[in-house]
């Protein structure tokens, strides 16, 4: 009997091996005392995988880099990676697991604001240091979280006057219908009005809308000088194609707070459609500094094939790792409070994106932001703004006064 290996059982075995091979990221349960564990919670599948996969690969690259330089406090750093699959219940499950079972010393991750608000309170409760490295609508007030992404006061505030100066004062906003889109659209309106312009209309779209025909007609009848796109996700990418197909490409220009943020947009949307869209982020691969050139080369060397898309999201994930590693070295300890004190001390870090420091009041980054024009899949940087404060979150949050805050404020614009 034992010799009788049927074709079916062979196939079963092969399938099992295949299934195991497909899950190389599963963490090992070992709790070696000579290792420092870093948790990674990025969407590696599901509708945000295009953003999550590069973030995860850059995080792993940063871990290798730290280990190549001798690790931290004489220990090796090891990444514990879970794939929450763009699913909020898996986010909360894995966050709890990272905090309690794996006892990760720090966690990088969360992409949408929804996922962040799922895991942030968990890390707050279990006192696990947390880095959120995505651009978002601002307003998180939590001493346990370091938010490295840009907020509307850093980007929209620059993008609106710049594009209004180029194109004119009548703005038509189209935005994704969830908290990021709603709040960012409100910021757009505020900045347009502050600059003496007018938002003629703001239309919101659920993430699954793919047909923008009526909207394109409405925009044409409103005759704005420019369109501000706060659209999010793959479904909304249809807008740009339909806009170009209607021949509007050279009629009304588009600025966007999101296009190219995840990186995949510039690969999916053809240059003849995407050229000329102006955006504003804290990082572009074309930032012209020796640090950035060296970093881009480093990424290409580490991932010569399928090089991860370098965007604010992936670049800031690397920055998060480096800022954390620096804090561990300076504090000479893994103690969370000591690390926070180092990061709150107002240190300035020289990063691929420029000079970065952590605002002690909000735990958001004070950083350089850039305005870029998209040309043939390349972001041509038009203007740089140095050391921009997260002024929106500063309106509502002062962690020096309320160190125990644990809240995401919706910043009121009334």
């Amino acid at each position: 009997m034992t010799r009788d290996i049927s074709r079916r059982s062979m196939l079963k075995g092969a399938a099992a091996v295949g299934a195991a091979g497909a899950l190389p990221m599963l963490p090992f349960a070992a709790e070696a005392a000579d290792e420092i564990l870093v948790g990674g919670l990025h969407d590696l599948s599901g509708f945000l995988d295009f953003a999550g996969i590069p973030m995860n690969r850059i995080m792993l690259m940063a871990i290798e880099e730290i280990n190549a330089k001798g690790g931290l406090l004489g220990k090796k750093v090891r990444g514990v990676v879970y794939d929450p699959q763009s699913n909020m219940s898996m986010y909360s499950q894995f966050a709890t697991q990272l905090a309690l079972k794996d006892k990760a010393t720090v966690v990088m991750g969360g992409i949408t604001s929804a996922s962040r608000e799922t895991i942030r309170p968990i890390f707050h409760r279990f006192k696990t240091l947390y880095f959120y490295n995505t651009l978002y609508e601002g307003g998180v007030c939590d001493r346990n979280e370091i938010s490295l992404g840009t907020t509307p006061a850093q980007t929209v505030e620059k993008l609106v006057p710049y594009t209004m100066g180029l194109w004119g004062k009548k703005v038509y906003t189209i935005a994704a219908d969830y908290n990021y889109g709603q709040i960012t659209a409100a910021w757009v309106k505020r900045y347009v009005e502050q600059n003496g312009g007018e938002v003629v209309s703001t239309d919101f779209f659920p993430l699954d809308v793919t047909n923008f025909g009526p909207t394109i007609s409405k925009i044409q009848s409103a005759k704005p000088d420019m369109v501000m796109s706060v659209l999010v996700g793959s479904g909304h990418l249809g807008f740009y194609n339909q806009w170009a197909a209607a021949g509007m490409k050279n009629e009304i220009p588009i600025a966007s707070t999101t296009f190219g943020a995840g990186g995949a947009e510039i690969e999916i949307i053809k240059p003849e459609v995407a050229n000329g869209i102006i955006s504003c982020y804290g990082y572009y691969p074309t930032v012209d500094t020796p640090e950035n050139k060296a970093w881009v080369q480093q990424v290409k060397k580490r991932y010569p094939e399928k090089t991860p898309l370098l965007t604010e999201l992936s670049a800031f994930t690397w920055e998060g790792m480096m800022i954390w590693a620096d804090a561990v070295r300076s504090a000479g300890s893994m103690d969370r409070m000591k690390l926070l004190e180092v990061m709150e001390s107002g240190k300035t870090y020289t990063m691929p994106s420029g000079k970065v420091s952590i605002d002690p009041k909000t735990h958001h980054a004070i950083r350089d932001v850039y305005i870029a024009d998209l040309k043939d899949k390349q972001f041509v940087i038009k203007k740089k703004f140095s050391q921009v404060q997260p002024a929106d979150t500063q309106l509502v949050c002062d962690l020096e006064k309320t160190p125990n805050a644990n809240k995401h404020y919706e910043i009121s614009l009334e």
Binding site: D49, F50, G238, A245, I268
Partner: protein, 288 residues
């Protein structure tokens, strides 16, 4: 004036869109009474056929008009042979089986192509309507919807094959007694329904791009249209698409796409409350 013309064009376009996604389902569900939950994935496969073949250098028209319906039609025949033919008359079982098929197809395509949007460039430029611009592709979609309806109508009404198909769906024993192999008729009908779905997916690919989960966005509207239309394939699809599409698009213009979709569901709800057998269950009862 120009603006109302643009609005009218968009209304017709939405009606055309519903006709495109519902015709294949009307054949499979309306005629054959098979609940094909994987219908949305059939459209997705049509879209991917277009994306893949145009990447390989095939002319986009050949890809959309020939390869997409051909590939999905053949796939439909295989599905009918392997799964569906065992489940005729067992509505719940066919629902479960095609649901499983739908999940499998989404997973399979995700594994192979990744869960990202693939795009095809639009083969038409803009079109001036007074001072407005409308995508030329809009007119092509409207034309395609007319062709869909016309081809189904003419086939069912005036060809022998159409007559046999209608007869088989009404009384397959009688048709067998007259010397027709009803199994072949079922197989071909299912394949044709699938081919319509593939063609619809191919036609929609340049507008919205294709993504493994796109079927889920289409299947709901397709079913609502077919159910609201009732048993008659042509008259049902046409009347339901016209009512639902124009109302939802008018609401979209007046407000936004959320209320547009809500209006579509609301109208369907009222229609089904008043006409539980669908529009053609009460009106146009003798039509095809």
């Amino acid at each position: 004036m120009d603006y109302s013309l643009v609005v009218a064009i968009e209304l017709v376009r939405e009606v055309a869109g519903l006709i495109l996604i519902a015709t294949g389902l009307a054949v499979i569900f309306g005629m054959m009474r098979v609940i094909n939950i994987a219908h949305g994935e059939f459209m997705m496969l049509g879209g991917y056929t277009v994306v893949l073949t145009t990447k390989m250098g095939v002319n986009i028209w050949v890809a959309i008009l020939i390869l997409a319906p051909l590939a999905v039609g053949i796939f439909g025949v295989i599905v009918e042979r392997c799964i569906i033919r065992h489940l005729y008359g067992r509505i719940i079982d066919s629902l479960l089986a095609t649901w499983g098929l739908s999940l499998f197809l989404i997973g399979f395509v995700t594994v192979v192509f990744g869960n990202t949007v693939e795009g095809v460039s639009n083969p038409f430029g803009g079109f001036a309507v007074g001072q407005y611009k409308v995508a030329g592709y809009t007119f092509f979609l409207i034309f395609a919807a007319v062709a869909f309806i016309a081809s189904v109508y003419l086939t069912l009404k005036y060809t022998k094959a159409g007559l046999i198909a209608r007869a088989t769906m009404q009384n397959s024993d009688m048709v067998e007694a007259l010397g027709v192999n009803s199994k072949h008729v079922y197989m071909a009908t299912f394949g044709i329904g699938a081919a319509f779905a593939g063609l619809a997916g191919g036609l929609l690919a340049p507008i919205s791009g294709v993504v493994p989960g796109m079927g889920a966005l289409l299947i709901g509207k397709a079913f609502i249209t077919v159910v609201t239309g009732g048993a008659a394939v042509v008259a049902g699809t046409l009347s339901a698409s016209t009512i639902l599409g124009s109302i939802s698009q008018a609401v979209t213009f007046a407000t936004n796409p959320v209320y547009g979709d809500a209006a579509l569901l609301f109208v369907a709800l009222i229609l089904l409350r008043l006409l539980p057998q669908g529009i053609t269950g009460r009106i146009f009862t003798r039509s095809i």
